[in-house]
């Protein structure tokens, strides 16, 4: 306990070093900006700036990427509340009540509440991270390859089935991601797999190309000529953002509940941010005494999902950093960056790279405070930015994507990969396949295979090894339960077709 606080103090000394502070600030600023702009998300922002981090020291690099991640969430709420633009799926649910509030002239209040909920939830999430991570690490040291494999399998299963859309499609995408992850030289035998005779593919498919293809190019292909310019005449002043005492009181408990939902979902590997905010919103509506107000401008409907998304963001870092198992695609990208920097995330990370781990945690606090300071005076600027037409924005973004991919290896081959994945991604999106699990599968693929093979070597080829050790067996049973529940609910949905449309939103 005391040790954690001491380490945290050390973390602040890292995070407040001028250069680290600068990169952290840069990260939250870019994240906030990208979050505000319609059609761009944290994923595309992080993958665009990832090439830049190759030349950086790991600490500022991670600080910056993490800053983009939570910064973009502040930005996403602005578009959702003021313009009804669910440019980022997790904020789609915020639109439901945020936009009606704007129409009633209370957009500023909604933004203020969202911001208070954000910083509250983020602080809670960070606190959980400070105290839970060292505990988790103690357990993690006892985990062998069999356990790691089981946890990853659980994460992939959860990621595939709990993404938006049909669970089967999610699983198919996870498998596709795992297959894409196999491309390249096999670590154990040196055999080239799925390289199609192209020497460039021996080095695996480039993470940046895959991510930007799936989340950048594919999104542009989908949105071109579809996103209409909106807004105009919107004015939010600094003064409007202070909620009244009654509103604060009304929002406080939902905020707390949202935070807890987010923390819980963050700790579970594989649960995406979108499901988290939908669950938080649904819970709030269910326990509310006045459920009819939801959808017509209930402040609770803004506070709870925003809090959930922020506490999840922070808690998400726990399994990524201490187990090396990313919970969602953004974490997968951050894990990828760590690996490229030569840092193996896992239980030894906290002791071997204490500066990185505690610096990151401290920077969360610094970054969140910076964000509030940024957002309050700059809200007018963000509102104006929201009006940049998509038709000007996407060509520029496309250029940044192309040059970003080029700069990872100074080669144009990766740009070709991105074109291919962009087209594939757009087709998959049009067919209602979630693309996020592909990235998760891609990053986890090699780790999964390695741990699988290692445990089989240790057990002399006995597949039951995954059920023989207690921790591994428990996780495997949870995995089987997830599959069972999905099959059961699918069968039930078939018997009662009316129950199919549970997914809120559009």
């Amino acid at each position: 306990m005391l040790q954690s606080l001491h380490d945290l103090w050390y973390g602040f000394s890292i995070a407040l070093q001028p250069s680290n502070l600068m990169w952290s600030f840069f990260g939250v600023l870019i994240g906030n900006l990208i979050g505000v702009l319609p059609g761009l998300g944290a994923l595309s922002a992080i993958s665009m700036l990832m090439p830049l981090t190759y030349a950086m020291h790991p600490v500022p690099a991670i600080l910056m990427l993490a800053g983009i991640f939570y910064g973009s969430q502040y930005g996403g709420a602005i578009g959702a509340i003021l313009l009804n633009l669910p440019s980022h799926p997790p904020h789609a649910v915020t639109c439901l009540d945020g936009f009606p509030l704007t129409k009633q002239g209370k957009g500023g209040t909604a933004l203020g509440i969202a911001m208070i909920a954000s910083i509250f939830a983020a602080s809670f999430g960070i606190t959980v991270m400070v105290f839970a991570s060292p505990l988790l690490v103690k357990i993690a040291f006892k985990l062998g390859p069999a356990e790691i494999f089981s946890i990853m399998l659980l994460g992939l299963l959860a990621g595939g089935t709990m993404a938006r859309g049909a669970p089967l499609k999610g699983i198919a995408m996870t498998l596709l991601g795992l297959l894409i992850g196999l491309v390249g030289t096999d670590v154990n035998s040196g055999v080239f797999r799925f390289t199609f005779g192209l020497p460039e593919l021996a080095d695996r498919i480039e993470l940046v190309a895959l991510a930007l293809g799936l989340f950048g190019v594919a999104d542009f292909l989908r949105n071109v000529n579809r996103i209409q310019a909106v807004g105009g005449g919107l004015r939010v002043r600094f003064r409007d953002m202070w909620p009244s005492k009654a509103e604060l009181k009304q929002a406080f408990l939902p905020m707390l509940r949202g935070t807890l939902v987010g923390t819980l979902f963050g700790a579970m590997p594989g649960t995406g941010p979108t499901i988290t905010t939908f669950v938080a919103y649904g819970l709030e509506r269910k326990i509310s005494k006045t459920p009819w107000r939801f959808g017509a401008g209930a402040i609770e409907g803004v506070a709870s999902p925003e809090a959930a998304s922020h506490s999840k963001t922070q808690v998400d870092f726990i399994p990524t950093m201490s187990l090396g198992i990313p919970g969602d695609p953004v974490m997968a990208l951050i894990l990828g960056t760590l690996l490229i920097q030569g840092i193996q995330p896992g239980p030894q990370l906290i002791s071997e790279h204490a500066d990185l781990f505690w610096g990151l945690i401290a920077s969360f606090w610094v970054g969140n405070i910076l964000l509030v300071l940024l957002n309050v005076p700059l809200i007018g600027l963000w509102v104006r930015l929201l009006r940049i037409p998509y038709r000007f924005m996407f060509p520029c973004a496309l250029f940044f994507i192309a040059i970003g991919i080029y700069s990872t290896n100074n080669s144009l081959f990766e740009v070709n990969e991105a074109i291919l994945f962009g087209i594939v991604g757009a087709i998959l999106l049009a067919l209602d396949f979630p693309v996020a699990p592909i990235l998760l599968g891609y990053v986890l693929g090699p780790l999964l295979e390695e741990n699988f093979r290692r445990s089989l070597v240790l057990s002399h080829g006995d597949l039951l090894v995954f059920f023989g050790r207690p921790i591994s067996a428990a996780i495997m049973i949870v995995s089987l339960l997830i599959v069972g529940v999905q099959v059961f609910s699918a069968l039930r949905a078939r018997v009662r077709p009316s129950a199919v449309n549970v997914h809120a939103g559009h």
Partner: protein
């Protein structure tokens, strides 16, 4: 239904690739391939009741947008190789901007020129990216 056939084809392709691998390093690909094949079959099998929910109007065909975006990226690669950073930048912004019906040629031209200037300043002058401004391949 065409949609579903396509999905099955994608799965089937992945399946046959997996099965071709040698057993040692090929173990994982084969397992994944088989699983993907099975899931693909399951998707096709369960998809019928949902077919009615596919809303045709939501996905209007945007050949101009799709064509221009893809073309602009392909041109970026080609011009990057046989022309250099400057023409490649200009073309990727110009062509992709034309993909949006509301952009006029003049809009696209202005945007492309502005981005090219930014590109030279940021990537060539400030970041010293290893990418020649002009080259002959």
């Amino acid at each position: 239904m065409i949609v579903l056939g396509l999905a099955a084809a994608v799965q089937g392709r992945a399946y046959s690739f997996g099965a071709l691998q040698r057993p040692g390093p090929g173990f994982f690909p084969v397992v994944l391939g088989v699983l993907l094949g099975l899931v693909g079959v399951a998707i096709v099998a369960t998809a019928q009741p949902m077919a009615s929910s596919i809303d045709e109007g939501r996905y209007s065909r945007e050949w101009r947008g799709w064509g221009c975006i893809t073309l602009s990226l392909v041109l970026f690669v080609l011009l990057g190789k046989y022309g250099g950073l400057l023409p490649a930048t200009f073309v990727i912004v110009f062509v992709s901007a034309l993909g949006d019906r509301r952009n006029t040629v003049k809009d696209a031209l202005t945007l492309a020129l502005a981005m090219t200037t930014i590109c030279v300043l940021v990537f060539w002058w400030a970041l010293k990216l290893q990418f020649p401004l002009f080259t002959r391949g």
